[in-house]
């Protein structure tokens, strides 16, 4: 699932308001239709709030969703 990557520009500027922390890449588990993937995604190191930027949601992530739906 290394295809899911977040360009740095999409993350730039966002920080966790709750914990006042910068986003850092962390291993995150994504699940869709009984498939599980480990992906590096920007998240708050404290509360683990994960950021899925627009480009990722509508781009690669959407493609993978479609692919899994047709399996």
């Amino acid at each position: 699932m290394s295809v899911i990557k977040v360009p740095e520009a999409d993350v730039a500027g966002w920080y966790c308001a709750t914990c006042d922390e910068e986003m850092v890449l962390q291993s995150v588990e994504l699940e869709y239709l009984d498939s599980l993937f480990n992906v590096e995604l920007p998240a708050c190191p404290k509360c683990r709030f994960v950021l899925i930027p627009e480009g990722l949601a509508l781009g690669k992530m959407h493609q993978v969703e479609q692919l899994l739906e047709d399996k």
């Binding site: 709750t18 588990e29 509360c47 899925i52 627009e54 739906e69 047709d70």
Partner: protein, 753 residues
């Protein structure tokens, strides 16, 4: 789908049937491809097409008398293609090709007696198939030798005889046939063929001859019937003899499956509509230019009737025979990607192809069955129809649905059923229509409900039945009144689902009652857009035209209209399953006429309005408001829901004098404004205002959100059920300004809600 069903469907689509010329040709020459290449001046390639099928092509191409011309579709649009002259031109101008390479030897020997066209062609066909052939004849060519000069230039026959030798035939010319002993030959060889036009059958009494096999009463002896003058038919006889000898030496049936050996009728349909009549090029000694012009007249026969009328069928690049195969394969996949899901879910199930197809092929039947199969196997992509089914649930939910007698009444002779999309798009029109019906018919009950068609279209049969059962109960609770239906899809669906109910269209009622008081009578021209649900309802279409006539509207019929009308792109849930194609379909429909459209399905109106085509619903003319209805924008998804809720609340408040307000959900108190960008993102991504409000409520309650240090915008996410929504917003204290929103279906495990 069972394999036998696949075969049946495949048989029903005639696109891959051979063209009439090939079917009528005794040798089944591919005249269509030949003409296509000739039209491109690719003489050498065209010659290869002839040489592939014809024995002794250099000779035969010069003697073809065009037996295809009687069936040529072009004959009714100027005149049949002058095939024999094109062949002759090609024979004279193309580069000769090497004779075909024979198949490996079968170890079977055949004697051919007689060197006329029949014998030569039988020899050609047999050596080609790997037989060891000896041709015995007194002279080579038989009656061909009567021709020379222009018709058969010197050297042509000799070259083809040389080809026969190259292919491996042994040619014993100059033999005194009288000395040939048939009995000895029959003992020696596996089979013997007698060309009866070149060898006197007095010498070789062959007795009774079987028409189909050319077999005689002696095993292994085959012969042609004498007296055939057409060289092409002689060649075809030579091929038939070769086929028989092949079967005989293999020990297989001599008769089964030989129906298509000679000329036959094809099932291919080719329309002459829109084909201009063009006369044949009369100068028979063709030059490159005139040969090309003549070849260009070939219609390149094919059917494609359904594809011409349907954007969907065109979009996937093929035709139903290929599609049904793809759907069958899709259905059979155990592991791997199901390539045809999108194609299956893109059919509008509108039935246009079935009407247009000369063999009644119905893609709707194939695709709906495939969808039901996918649902049953748990293989339906969740994103395909979920949004539409959520909308259906909303239309049937407490906020939107209603079933009542008229205010103050406890029985209903009639009940008005406007349909959930009309209420979503034009609540004012529905209010006016209901008011009009009550005034003129007395007490008319009201049912606001979805007819259940999204469930049917998505392949969810159980949900469809369940939904229809709820409708039945509500209708029965009203005492089973006659149902007045405004939406053509609801009309069709309710007639199928409630066969015991008396159901009448609103348009039939209005035709009988006369125009409502405020109807806008005006002398204008409008193109009528029949919705696909009216395809098989000729009375409905007549009622609407009669109303338009009363309104003094000059009605223009588009090319595809009435029973051939296409879908607007909404049907079959295309616009949810494949929004881009849905839009393309609407665009094609919009571009089909110059005039503004008038229609009587609000989804057609809204689909057309969405792509910028001026279109009015019949309600806009019968119950006009103040604005120009042609430019009324199609309401977005959120507004459609709000309109349903608004309509119910207003009806309850004004007609039934009740407080119609539903108990509010907490998120509804979230005040929210949208930028243009956010609004357009919401429509494209099918995100509702309520989805956004839920995210904002969740962010407010949990405090979980991100902040952008450059823009100051906040970002929060929430997953109410199966979709995670993201909202980028500004918090202005009393309300939120939403700048952007997006969503995904993939679930982030163990992180935020």
């Amino acid at each position: 789908m069972e394999q036998s069903e696949l075969r049946q469907w495949e048989r029903q689509c005639v696109q891959e049937e051979v063209p009439p010329c090939t079917a009528a040709c005794p040798l089944h020459v591919d005249a269509r491809t030949f003409c296509s290449l000739m039209a491109q001046r690719r003489w050498d390639k065209a010659w290869q097409i002839l040489a592939k099928t014809m024995p002794l092509p250099g000779v035969l191409a010069r003697f073809c008398d065009g037996p295809c011309k009687g069936t040529c579709v072009r004959k009714d649009a100027g005149g049949a293609i002058e095939m024999e002259f094109l062949e002759r031109f090609c024979a004279e101008n193309a580069k000769p090709v090497a004779p075909p390479r024979p198949l490996p030897s079968r170890g079977k020997t055949v004697a051919v007696l007689g060197g006329g066209m029949t014998g030569l062609c039988a020899t050609w066909e047999l050596v080609r198939r790997g037989f060891d052939v000896t041709l015995y004849c007194s002279s080579l060519g038989g009656s061909l030798l009567d021709y020379s000069g222009d018709i058969l230039p010197e050297g042509v026959l000799e070259r083809e005889i040389e080809s026969l030798r190259t292919m491996g035939a042994t040619i014993e010319a100059g033999v005194d046939i009288l000395l040939v002993q048939l009995d000895l030959l029959l003992d020696e060889k596996d089979a013997v063929f007698v060309d009866s036009d070149a060898v006197s059958t007095d010498l070789f009494p062959i007795g009774m001859l079987d028409e189909m096999t050319l077999g005689t009463q002696r095993a292994g002896l085959f012969a042609s019937r004498s007296g055939e003058v057409s060289f092409i038919l002689q060649a075809a006889t030579g091929r038939r003899a070769a086929n028989s000898i092949e079967r005989y030496t293999q020990g297989v049936s001599m008769v089964t499956g030989r129906e298509l050996e000679g000329p036959y009728e094809t099932r291919l349909f080719t329309s002459l509509e829109k084909i201009e009549s063009v006369s044949p090029v009369l100068d028979k000694a063709y030059s490159e230019l005139t040969a090309q012009d003549e070849a260009k007249r070939c219609l390149q026969c094919e059917c494609m009737e359904c594809v011409k009328g349907c954007e969907y069928l065109r979009h996937f690049k093929y035709y139903p025979k290929v599609y049904v195969r793809q759907i069958y394969n899709n259905d059979s996949i155990v592991m791997g990607t199901r390539q045809a899901n999108t194609m299956i879910n893109s059919c509008m199930l509108c039935g246009q192809c079935e009407i247009i197809c000369p063999e009644d092929f119905s893609m709707a039947d194939v695709c709906l069955e495939a969808r039901r199969g996918m649902v049953a196997q748990g293989k339906m992509p969740p994103s395909a129809h979920e949004f539409a089914l959520r909308d259906m649930a909303f239309a049937n939910g407490a906020q939107s649905a209603l079933a009542r007698h008229a205010p103050g009444a406890d029985i209903s002779e009639y009940v008005f059923f406007p349909g959930c999309q009309l209420t979503a798009s034009d609540p004012e029109g529905v209010l006016a229509a209901y008011d009009d019906l009550c005034r003129r018919l007395g007490s008319v009950g009201l049912m606001l409900h979805c007819c259940g068609i999204p469930a049917e279209w998505s392949g969810q049969q159980a949900l469809m039945e369940e939904s229809m059962e709820v409708l039945r109960e509500k209708w029965q609770a009203l005492g089973g009144p006659k149902i007045i239906v405004a939406c053509p899809t609801c009309l069709k669906t309710l007639r199928e689902g409630l066969p015991d109910a008396a159901i009448v269209s609103h348009w039939a009622i209005l035709r009988a009652l006369g125009l409502p008081a405020g109807a806008k009578v005006q002398d204008i021209s409008l193109a009528i857009n029949d919705p696909c649900a009216a395809r098989n309802d000729v009375l409905l279409r007549e009622d609407v035209r009669s109303l338009l006539d009363s309104l003094h509207i000059d009605v223009k019929e588009p090319e595809y209209s009435g029973e051939k009308t296409p879908c607007c792109g909404y049907g079959g849930l295309l616009s949810t399953a494949n929004p881009a194609l849905g839009e393309a379909v609407a665009r094609a429909r919009g571009e089909a006429v110059e005039e503004d459209y008038v229609t009587y399905c609000v989804m057609c109106r809204d689909m057309l309005a969405k792509i910028g085509k001026r279109a009015v619903h019949l309600y806009d003319l019968l119950y006009p408001g103040n604005d120009d209805p042609g430019v009324r924008p199609a309401p977005g998804y959120s507004v459609r829901r709000e309109n349903r809720v608004y309509l119910k609340e207003r009806l309850l408040r004004e007609l039934w004098c009740e407080d119609g307000a539903n108990a509010k959900q907490p998120y509804e108190d979230i005040g929210v404004e949208f930028t243009e960008q956010a609004r357009s993102a919401m429509e494209d991504r099918r995100i509702l205002k309520s989805d956004v409000q839920k995210v904002l409520l969740q962010a407010n309650t949990s405090g979980c959100h991100l902040v952008n240090d450059k823009t100051g915008h906040k970002l929060a996410s929430f997953r109410p059920v199966v979709v995670t929504y993201w909202v980028e917003y500004e918090d202005r204290g009393t309300e939120f300004i939403v700048h952007n929103t997006w969503c995904h279906r993939m679930h982030i495990k163990g992180a935020q809600q």
